[in-house]
């Protein structure tokens, strides 16, 4: 019976180690600076999940779990391939997107400033003629 006790302890220890590695990988997925890092983390999660399924299959004695593991491996592979296609078709890195967004924000600010200036000029021009209403429209059109 000693062997069986050792085996039970080994299964428990394996589950604990797998949980630890699962948590570490999830931390990388949450923190991961770029999208490919997160995809790699998800790929790794699939491998760890297959490990979990194998351990649970041994623990419960249902060998049907191995079909689940194979199917999960297939789905994980297809998911990674699809994500790689997505990275390729998006065609830019996080840095590119950041610079683009910053550029767009600067442009928008500049445009708004120019528009405000033009509106103000128009308002000062129209104020003597139409009085209060011209100033009100000038204020209203300001972003």
């Amino acid at each position: 019976m000693g062997v069986q006790a050792i085996f039970d302890h080994a299964v428990t220890l394996t589950l604990a180690i797998l949980c630890l590695s699962f948590l570490v990988t999830v931390y990388r997925i949450i923190k991961g600076p770029t999208l490919p890092d997160r995809i790699l983390g998800l790929d790794m999660l699939v491998a760890i999940a297959i490990g979990f399924i194998a351990v649970i299959g041994i623990k419960t004695g249902y060998t049907l779990y191995i079909d689940v593991a194979i199917a999960l491996g297939l789905v994980g592979f297809l998911a990674t391939v699809a994500f790689a296609r997505f990275v390729l078709s998006r065609g830019k890195t996080e840095d590119d997107i950041l610079t683009e967004v910053r550029q767009a924000a600067t442009d928008a600010r500049k445009a708004a400033k120019a528009k405000a200036k033009a509106d103000a000029r128009a308002a000062t021009k129209t104020r003597p003629a139409s009085g209060k209403t011209g100033a009100a429209t000038g204020k209203g059109s300001q972003p």
Binding site: F7, A10, S21
Partner: protein, 112 residues
């Protein structure tokens, strides 16, 4: 005989889970995407395969063993393909190597 099989299965389980742990620690510690890919595609695959083999050894009947081996072969075939696709996509989109990299002989090819 039965006891030896049980012990071997337990050893495979422990070693496989340790490799999975090593792979995830590598994912955490290594500096950039490409070096992390080394950890995930080698140690991670190895860990999952070892645990499937442990299941095969433990069950011992033909159907389960053949299905487990099919799973192992399938995993060994797909893991390099997916990591290769990801590396290729990431490089061609423009994710650069970490600054500790010493050479990049692919750079002139992409700029062309």
């Amino acid at each position: 005989m039965n006891e030896i099989v049980t012990l071997v299965s337990a050893a495979f389980l422990l070693i496989g889970s340790l490799f999975a742990l090593v792979a995830s620690v590598g994912l955490l510690r290594l500096p950039d995407l490409y070096t992390r890919m080394h950890a995930a595609s080698k140690a991670g695959t190895m860990g999952a395969c070892l645990m499937l083999i442990a299941l095969a050894v433990h069950s011992g009947d033909v159907g389960t063993v053949s299905r487990a081996l099919a799973g192992v072969v399938f995993f060994l075939l797909t893991a390099p393909v997916s990591s290769h696709l990801l590396a290729k996509a990431a490089y061609s989109v423009g994710y650069r190597l970490h600054k500790s990299s010493v050479r990049d002989e692919m750079a002139p090819e992409v700029e062309k």
